[in-house]
């Protein structure tokens, strides 16, 4: 039978092809990171040595990382980052999930205007409205606080869109069952929608946390005291006025700051694979 002889062969080709594509993608994705990490562990003098672009000769881990840790309070920056990102993420999930639930599962007038509003909010570049927000916060004397750092991001239109799109696929009947079980919408949200949305919440968390972790634009506007400074400020410490960046430490700082994000992803990743219906309905 032909299928017998050709099938394993064909699937071998298919799987090596798909592996090839994956590794191509991974190389593309990781090339800059490989370079960043390499540069962070080697003597800055070597970074521009074309002949050994990817082969460090002498390591300078202590120097580069030591300088980062000694010259900048990068750990306290990170603590700020953790506080701010956690607050923002919690608020975004807390505001977007009910909203997305209403959009996906409740019947009410004004669904379209609401969606339009969310898309509009997505269209508006933050740079455009940062100044009015800054003035508003100044007016209520809330600048230079954690509140100022999180206030503009308490609701995320991206989250609303992603969540509502995802929840559309969630079976209505399960929610109906919960309503018959006298669950309030709060309970439905907390005990049914929240766990069911974990894959998309996990995905969104990754976006939200990486974005706000790396955000420098708003913190530089909203705060003036270094106690509240975000992690990425640690990177700027190694960029010099007239161009001679301290490459080794710069890359070390960048690596340090990226590490927690990889951790966040690893935590979130566990959730990606879970399916949505999972035997709930026939």
């Amino acid at each position: 039978m032909t299928s017998f002889t050709s099938r394993p062969f064909r699937s071998l080709i298919a799987s090596s092809l798909s592996n090839g594509v994956i590794w191509l993608g991974i190389s593309f994705a990781c090339l800059p990171f490989a370079w960043m990490i390499l540069s962070s562990i080697r003597d800055p003098a070597e970074i521009f040595d074309v002949s050994r672009m990817f082969l460090p000769r002498s390591l300078a881990i202590k120097e580069n990382y030591g300088r980062v840790l000694a010259e900048t309070p990068v750990l306290s920056f990170m603590l700020n980052g953790i506080i701010v990102c956690t607050l923002i993420l919690a608020a975004q999930v807390a505001t977007a999930l009910p909203c997305a639930y209403a959009i996906a599962k409740l019947r009410f007038h004004g669904k379209r205007p609401l969606l339009a509003l969310a898309v509009l909010a997505l269209l508006v570049p933050f740079q455009a409205i940062a100044l009015p927000i800054f003035l508003g916060l100044a007016w209520i004397q809330a600048l230079d606080t954690y509140f100022a750092l999180v206030a503009p991001f308490l609701v995320s239109p991206l989250a609303i869109l992603l969540f509502s799109q995802f929840l559309r696929a969630f079976p209505d009947e399960v929610i109906e069952a919960a309503r018959l079980d006298r669950c309030s919408h709060t309970t439905i949200l907390l005990r049914i929608i929240l766990p069911a949305s974990m894959p998309v919440i996990a995905a969104f968390s990754v976006f939200s946390v990486t974005y706000h972790w790396n955000d420098l634009y708003w913190p530089l506007i909203a705060i003036s005291s270094a106690d509240l400074a975000p992690p990425t400020l640690g990177i700027l410490f190694f960029r010099d006025a007239d161009g001679g960046d301290s490459y080794g430490s710069l890359m070390a700082a960048a690596t340090l700051i990226t590490l927690p994000l990889a951790l966040v992803f690893l935590i979130a990743q566990r959730r990606f694979v879970e399916g949505i219906t999972m035997g709930a309905i026939k």
């Binding site: 370079w35 009015p132 960048a254």
Partner: protein, 300 residues
């Protein structure tokens, strides 16, 4: 027993509507406070001649908008932005989709692959721009070193007027495809395994047909969202330009948001900058509305 008049009915709807109001009101209030009101301020400013830090302000009607219309820079910025978007969006979505499909079909190594492919999303552009400028360096960048090793002529990615925008697009694709990858991964997880099982028995077990007939249609809603988000993000390109090229050479990478930023915050022309932003929003709004409209029309 009398039949209830229809007029008494809406209370059920009311209660549902009331619950909906409670669900959406925090989001709405915050959207209004943190986006709509500031945006309103921008709208107002766009009709004035306000200078940042200035003390006087005059309404000048639509003069700012007229000036945008006359400005070559604005036209060029729009064109560049469109070209950039046209380069970035299809590539990012396609790469993200293909990788998500392939990776989700993997067994043991899947999680490691995911982590590696997710990395670009974590990048801080301030640093990555430096890294990329080196990777794409005309003489000593690894890519050119490789080209030279193969006996080809090196490519000046970032200073060639023709190539600079595609080069920036390449970097954007690098990051955006990672974003698409993660969203698609989450979207794929929402497809019930049972459907795939039924498909396997219907001989749609793998490959193109399974993608076309099962995965793609079921992923369509995710794709619409991804397209929308990627488009908006591409339109909002700013960091890359600010760090790598500042719009040069010869304005080849001068994009809308960068132009706006220059006007408002480098030249302090808040009024004019606001007008530009308004046009930007209108423009992106139209493009994404069209996009969603097409998407919706395609799927009944």
């Amino acid at each position: 027993m009398t039949t209830l008049a229809v007029g008494e009915r809406p209370s059920l709807r009311d209660s549902v509507a009331f619950d909906a109001v409670i669900c959406i009101s925090p989001a709405i209030l915050l959207l209004v406070a943190m986006t709509l009101l500031p945006l309103a301020a921008v709208v107002v400013l766009s009709f004035t001649d306000y200078q940042l830090g200035g003390t006087d302000i005059h309404f000048i009607g639509i003069e700012n908008f007229m000036r945008v219309g006359e400005s070559d820079d604005a036209g060029r910025a729009i064109l560049n932005t469109l070209r950039f978007t046209a380069l970035v969006v299809p590539a990012s979505v396609a790469i993200g989709l293909v990788l998500a499909l392939l990776v989700s079909a993997r067994g043991r190594l899947r999680r490691a692959y995911e982590l590696l492919l997710f990395l670009p999303l974590t990048a801080t552009m301030t640093v990555m721009a430096i890294v990329w400028s080196l990777l794409l360096h005309g003489q000593i960048g690894p890519i050119n070193v490789a080209l030279k090793a193969m006996g080809l002529a090196p490519v000046e990615f970032l200073s060639n007027v023709e190539l600079v925008l595609p080069s920036l697009a390449l970097i954007a694709v690098w990051q955006q495809s990672s974003f698409c990858f993660v969203v698609f991964l989450a979207g794929l997880s929402a497809i019930p395994t049972e459907v795939y099982e039924a498909a396997a028995l219907d001989r749609v077990g793998s490959g193109w047909e399974r993608f076309r007939r099962i995965t793609w249609p079921l992923l369509a809603p995710t794709t619409v969202v991804v397209l929308l988000l990627t488009t908006i993000k591409a339109f909002q390109v700013f960091d890359l330009v600010a760090v790598l090229t500042q719009g040069g050479p010869q304005g080849a990478t001068d994009v809308l948001l960068y132009e706006t930023y220059l006007q408002a915050f480098s030249y302090f022309r808040i009024g004019y900058g606001s007008a530009l932003i308004m046009l930007f929003i209108a423009f992106v709004g139209i493009v994404s509305t069209l996009q969603m409209w097409f998407a919706r029309r395609r799927q009944p």
